[in-house]
Amino acid sequence: MKYILKHRRELLGILTVLMGMMCIWLILDKPSTVPPNDTVNYYLENAQKETGAINVVTAIYLNYRVFDTVFEALLLLVAVTAVLFIYPIKPAKKIEKKNQIVLEPLKDLLVFIIPFILIFGLALIINGDKTPGGGFQGGAILVVIFVSGYLIDETRKVDLNIFTLVEKFAFISLTVIITAFLGLNFVEISPEVKKIYLVVINAFIGIKVCAGLGIIFYRFSRVDKEEDDQ
């Protein structure tokens, strides 16, 4: 028993390597062809004319499995709530200059690059139904603007209450629009309306993800400084 406790790391390492070898052996052994799958065939054949989305992945997560998306958005809201529960929002104030994170030349580069990030994120959100993109990816890219803004000037004051308001508004609109869309008869809606629905939902998801990640980032960025103030 003492020997096992003393050499715990080595024994666990040997166990992990054995597990990995077994998994890789199982992979090498499996058949290379995949049997036909009715669900996938249905999605690939009918997604485009039933939902109006050229990207089948968007068609799945905004139409066939839209509840997944709603509860995923809710999960992000719950995570933000948990972070804000542990570290409540303090009134926004300007903090005096302390340690500079970014070197001067890098700041100019960040200022130059921000418009391109904005265009890239917006393009991903708006073209979510045609290209490999969507609300989640575009929202995550738009947060980079806030992160760059923090790196350029860390003393700028940010009101997190606006972020929380935007996130709540986006989530409620998302739920209302999806419920209304599901309440209508799915097949009888014209393709133009379906395309507008996809773009609008992607936009709200993008706003929601952007606001949620922004709250988490700014909350973590201020935790250290507030400790110094106390």
């Binding site: 715990r8 790391r9 666990l12 390492g13 992990t16 597990m19 990995g20 998994c23 890789i24 992979i27 995949v34 036909p36 799958n37 669900t39 996938v40 065939n41 999605y43 690939l44 054949e45 997604a47 485009q48 004319k49 050229i54 990207n55 089948v56 992945v57 068609a59 799945i60 997560y61 499995r65 997944d68 998306t69 995923e72 999960l75 992000l76 719950v78 995570a79 948990a82 972070v83 542990i86 570290y87 045609k130 290209t131 490999p132 969507g134 989640f136 993800v209 990640l213 988490i216 909350r219 973590f220 935790v223 400790e227």
Partner: protein, 115 residues
Amino acid sequence: MTGEIVSIIIFLIGCYTIMVRRDIVHTSIGISLMTGGVILNFLTTPHEYMKAPIGVEGEISSAIADPLPQALMITDIIIGMATTAVALAIFIKLYRKYDTARWDHALKKHVEESD
């Protein structure tokens, strides 16, 4: 094939981190690594080198990648991010209270305080 092997290696590195390390930050990193391995496995398993499922109406479905795991993995990425954020927030609180980054030391201090 390559993607699957890489995903298994990443997942097992995460497993090993969780089993061996008693540091809370290392545990969070291990969980993130395991999430990454799972995502990579789902995305690569049956359809490496296949066509992306975009604008594929009327094509042979055996040459197109399965869109369902891709749609589900978007969910997984957000869940992994949210759990990491909450775990790190709790970690900072715990570190301020017990002044240690390890599970066992924090537990020991908690027992001492409660006695």
